[in-house]
Every structure is written in C-alpha cells, then in structure tokens.
C-alpha cells in the first residue's frame, strides 16, 4: 500500500511540472506587462525598467522558469508583485477558506445526492424517481452564479420573509464568522454536486441491482430491503466515491464564481484577481497549489476506491 502511494506520488511529479510549464507559458503569452501595471499610469520608463529589473522580468523565460521551479521546490513561491507579500502568505488563509467551502459543499452534495440517488433507484420508474431526477437535472443545468444570486435574493434580503421566519435570514457576504454566511454559498456550490452524485448513485445502483450476485442474494431468500442496502449499496458506492472526490477537487478550483458572489476571500478569487493584475507569482502559486490539491484528492480517491473495491490489487 505504501509502495503504491509512493509510486503514485512520484507519478504526479511530471503532471505538476506540466502544470507549472503551462501556467508559466500562458502567463508570459498574456499581453500586459506586470512591471507596467505595478508602476501604473504615468510612470516613467526608468521606473518601469527598475521594477522590471527587480521582478527579474528581464531574464529569458527559461531562466525565469528555472528559478521559479528551483524556489518552488524549496517551498518558496516568490512574493506577490502587487502587495509584496510572499505568495505563501497570500494563499495562506484563503486556502483554508476555500478548503472549508469545498468541504462543506461536498458534505451537502454527498448528503443530498446519496439520499436522492438511493430513493430514486429503489423506486425507479415511479413518480418519486422521476421528480427527483428532474430536480437533479435542474440543479445540474442551472448556472450557479445565478442560483447564488437567487438565494441571496430569497434568503438574505428576503423581503417576503414573515417575522416568524426572520431567524432564517442569511448574510449575503463573507465567510466563517457565522453559519448565516456559510449556508448560502455551500448550498450554491453543493447543489450542483448533489445533482451529479444523485444521478451517479442512481445509475450505479441500477447497474448493481442487475448484477448476478444480487440474484444470488435473492436466491438465498434475503429480503428486498437487505438486498438493496446490504448487497447493492456497498457495491454501488464504489464509483460514487470517485465522483465525490472529483467533485471536491472541482469545488476547490471552480469556486471562483461562488466566491465572487458571496464575497468569500478564497483561492479562486485570489487567482482571478492575480490574473487581472498580472501578478505572475501569485497566479503560478495558486495554480500550483490547486493542482497539487487536485492531484492529491485524486490520489485519495484512487486509494479509497481500491480500499472499497478489494478486487483491485494494490501492488
């Protein structure tokens, strides 16, 4: 097992190098000179030149890349062009905000998704199934920034709210100070994931229910309930775990819109802002961190997949 994990970790190295090369070259292809942006309008050529010098932008791109990689290996991602703070500090608290957001959203997604998926599969081709799947499809088809704004309109501003429901009022912005700030963004992000998980669970359940070993269980005289929950569900969850992991990874990198709407100070917004201000070190840093997390989450998914699915030999 350890051997497997180590091997997988080593395999991620080329991927991460690829990611850094990609982000590095993209950033250098993007028009817009960071030195100019730092210097601002009206700065003299000399000032811009000094800044460029300071940022090391005069060197050839391979040299710059080499230096970046060399430092990154030592855990130094440089410092923000815009604020001068070390990129690690910039990422610091925002990272945990995003992880928290992704984590809660995953919980919501799994909770709602599993229940809906199971009910749907067990009662497949009934009204319950159809309506759950229609709702899930809606969840999947809704642009989530729109959904987020609708939630704010209903539950944060909530002019319709009668006095007695006022305690339900949510806060439209921020993160982490109170549950009133957490629920809406988590719902916004989580519902899309719930829709995917529900569909996955349903089809996986249906697939498993058609397997020979389910028939074996029935032939043993086991009741339908036990067939569903003991024999089918455990098998059906295996592919769902994969989806959950990927969802979590997706939430990490894809929370940009939600973070923007709810004024959550996370990684996504940091990256977008950094791209806009050509804050190369920050962009490189965040992309690298997001990719690392993504890769690690995937690794975890594979490991849990293998643990659940004992058929797969770990070595």
């Amino acid at each position: 097992m350890t051997k497997y994990i180590i091997r997988r970790l080593i395999q991620t190295i080329p991927v991460l190098i690829g990611v850094t090369i990609l982000v590095f070259s993209l950033m250098h292809l993007v028009p817009g000179d960071p030195a100019q942006i730092v210097a601002g309008e009206g700065a003299s050529e000399q000032t811009v030149e000094n800044i460029r010098e300071r940022l090391g932008l005069n060197e050839s791109i391979p040299v710059q890349y080499g230096r970046f990689l060399g430092n990154a290996v030592q855990g130094d991602l440089g410092s923000s062009v815009r604020s001068g703070r070390p990129v690690m500090d910039e990422i610091g608290s925002r990272f945990w905000v995003t992880v928290e957001l992704a984590f809660y959203s995953t919980i919501v997604a799994v909770f709602l998704g599993l229940i809906a998926g199971i009910v749907s599969a067990v009662r497949h081709y009934t009204l319950a199934d159809t309506s759950i799947m229609i709702v899930a499809l809606f969840g999947l088809s809704m642009p989530n920034f729109w959904f987020g704004l609708l939630l704010i309109q209903w539950f944060a501003i909530g002019n319709w709210m009668p006095e007695s429901l006022e305690f339900l009022k949510m806060r439209p912005s921020g993160w982490g100070d109170s549950w009133r700030q957490i629920i809406l963004p988590v719902l916004t992000l989580g519902t899309g994931g719930a829709a995917i998980i529900a569909r996955m669970t349903r089809s996986s359940m249906l697939e498993v229910i058609g397997q020979d070993y389910i028939r074996t269980a029935r032939a043993k005289g086991v009741s339908e309930r036990i067939v569903t929950y003991r024999h089918a569900l455990k098998n059906a969850l295996i592919p769902v775990v994969t989806v959950v992991g990927l969802e979590f990874g997706g939430f990490l990198g894809g929370a940009v819109l939600t973070e923007t709407i709810f004024a959550i100070n996370g990684m996504g917004r940091l990256t977008i802002d950094a791209i806009r201000t050509r804050d190369f070190p920050v962009v490189q840093g965040t992309v690298l961190v997001i990719s690392v997390i993504f890769v690690l989450v995937n690794l975890l998914v594979d490991i849990s997949y293998r643990l659940l699915n004992k058929r797969i030999d770990l070595n």
Binding site: L26, Y125, M142, G254, G268, D302
Partner: protein, 302 residues
C-alpha cells in the same frame, strides 16, 4: 486519475456490436420519453436559432440591438413579452437572435474539444505504451489545471471574443473526450475484428479511422451532448467574469450577466436568459442521458 476510475466498465458493453442495431437504438430512444422531450427541445431551439431571426425581421419591427432608453427595464408586457433590458431592448427578440450564438458556443467548442480529444484519445488507446503515458499525463495536466483559469488565461491571451471563448471552452473539454475515447478505444481494440483486419495487413491509419472510430461514435455522441450542456454553462460563467461575447451580441450568458446587475430591481432581465440556458442545458442533458440509456444494453429490460 488512474485508469480504473476513468474507464467505467460500461463502455465495453456500450459498444457491444450485438446491441449496435440502429433500429433497436432508435426504437429504444423513442420510447424514452425524457429523451424525446430533450430531442424535441433541441430541435425547437435550433429552429428558433435559425428561423426565428428571419421571422422576426420579416414580420415585425423588433431588432435585437435597437435601444430605447425611455423604455428600459420594463417588465413583461404585451409589446415586450419578456420585458426590456437596461437599454430598453426587447429581451424576447434578443433571446431569439442570441440562440444561435449560444448554440455556437455549445456546438463549436465541443466540436473543437471533441476533435482534439478524440484524436488524442484514439492514439493513446490504440498505441498504448509510452505514447499513451505521455498523452494521458498531458491530459492530467489539463485536468489538474483549474478549468476556469485556463479559459481565463486563454481569453486573456487571445483577446475577448465569442470565438476565443469557444476555443477556451473547447480546450477545456479536451481531456474529457480524450479519456472517454481512450477507454472505448481500448475496449474496441480488444475486439477480435480489429485483430482480423490487422491480420489482413491493414495499416494503422485504416484501422483507426475505418474500424475503430465508427465504433466508438456512440460514447462520443453521448459525451458530446452532455458536454454541450457543460460548455454552455462554462461559457455563461466566463461571461460572468466579463469574458464572454462582445456587446451588444445577445449571447445568453452575456445577457444573463448583464441582467445580474439588475437582479433585485428588475429580475426579469436575468430571469429569461437564465431560464433559456437552463432549458437548453436541460435539453442536452436529458437527451444525452437518453442516448446513453438507449445504447446501454442493461437498460433494455427496463
């Protein structure tokens, strides 16, 4: 990102030639009410995109970009069925004219992503070994790279325009296709007829394009229809970040984003484009699901 997780075993059955009877496929597809509704919706939107503008220009005075600031942000009424936007433009008219753009975003980006992804996936699956490892690591890179950032960077490099959004979203979909295609290629490659034509001395080119590609079309089509849904949503997300279609183009994502400013004062401005997006995305999703079910032999008994 291991092979096991990305190639669900179902693909093997999906292309089981035993099931590949078109007639059976159509019959099953047509029996699936949701898929039929999805298909009809798609047909409806396509018609609306290509005939709608003509009808409007021929029979009415409404124009998508005709502003009327005295009449802005009006709610739905007899003269403006879906109300007007912040320039006093008729939202209904704009939605009709914008359908084409939105479909372009969906179709073209999936087309681009599909072509590249299919080529990568097929080569990867067919040749295996080192080629496979390199291509798949490359796909991992694209996958690990936060998607919206990739799109953002591409749009920043190429400049903002619908075309570039399409390219960005296209590149974004490459890994998804590559993985599906690779998985299917691997299972088709195992089928004996591939060995049979190889034993006849067929070239790799012939095998790939004549014998493998046509037989992995079904998962590609399923993937494409589901991907179109994602592409439209991603496009809308880019519009949200101000990187979508150029004004005054009535692309739905851009319209939704414009409407965002008026969410609370004039909700209809965002509501209708939002609903239209949901509708189209929904249509492609259920249609894709339907096609998948129709292709899946497991579903035939149900």
């Amino acid at each position: 990102m291991s092979e096991e997780t990305v190639n669900p075993p179902v693909t093997a059955q999906k292309i089981n030639p035993r099931i590949e009877s078109y007639k059976q496929f159509w019959r099953r597809l047509l029996k699936n009410k949701a898929a039929v509704i999805g298909g009809l919706l798609i047909v409806f939107v396509v018609l609306m995109a290509f005939i709608g503008p003509w009808i409007i220009t021929t029979f009415t005075d409404y124009r998508p970009n005709q502003t009327d600031l005295t009449n802005k942000l009006q709610g739905p009424s007899a003269s403006n069925w879906f109300g007007t936007d912040s320039f006093g433009r008729d939202i209904f008219t704009r939605l009709i004219f914008g359908a084409k753009l939105t479909l372009y975003v969906g179709f073209l980006s999936v087309f681009i992503g599909g072509i590249i992804g299919v080529i990568f996936g097929i080569i990867s699956g067919y040749y295996g070994g080192r080629v496979d490892a390199v291509i798949m690591r490359l796909m991992d890179v694209l996958l690990a790279f936060p998607g919206i950032l990739l799109a953002l960077a591409i749009v920043a490099v190429l400049g903002g325009s619908l075309t570039n959004v399409i390219i960005a979203v296209g590149i974004f979909s490459v890994p998804a296709f590559a993985r599906v295609v690779r998985g299917s290629t691997l299972s088709v490659r195992k089928l004996e007829y591939v060995d049979a034509v190889r034993a006849l001395g067929a070239s790799d080119f012939r095998i790939i394009f004549k014998h493998i590609l046509p037989n992995i079309m079904s998962p590609i089509i399923v993937q494409a229809s589901l991907r179109i849904a994602t592409a439209i949503l991603t496009g809308a997300g880019l519009s949200f970040l101000g990187l979508g279609a150029q004004p005054p183009a009535p692309e739905w994502g851009a319209m939704l984003n414009e409407g965002r400013q008026y969410m609370f004062e004039a909700g209809h401005v965002a509501l209708f484009p939002g609903l239209m997006i949901v509708l189209v995305v929904l249509a492609f999703n259920i249609f894709g699901d339907g096609v998948r079910d129709a292709l899946d032999p497991k579903m035939k008994n149900r």
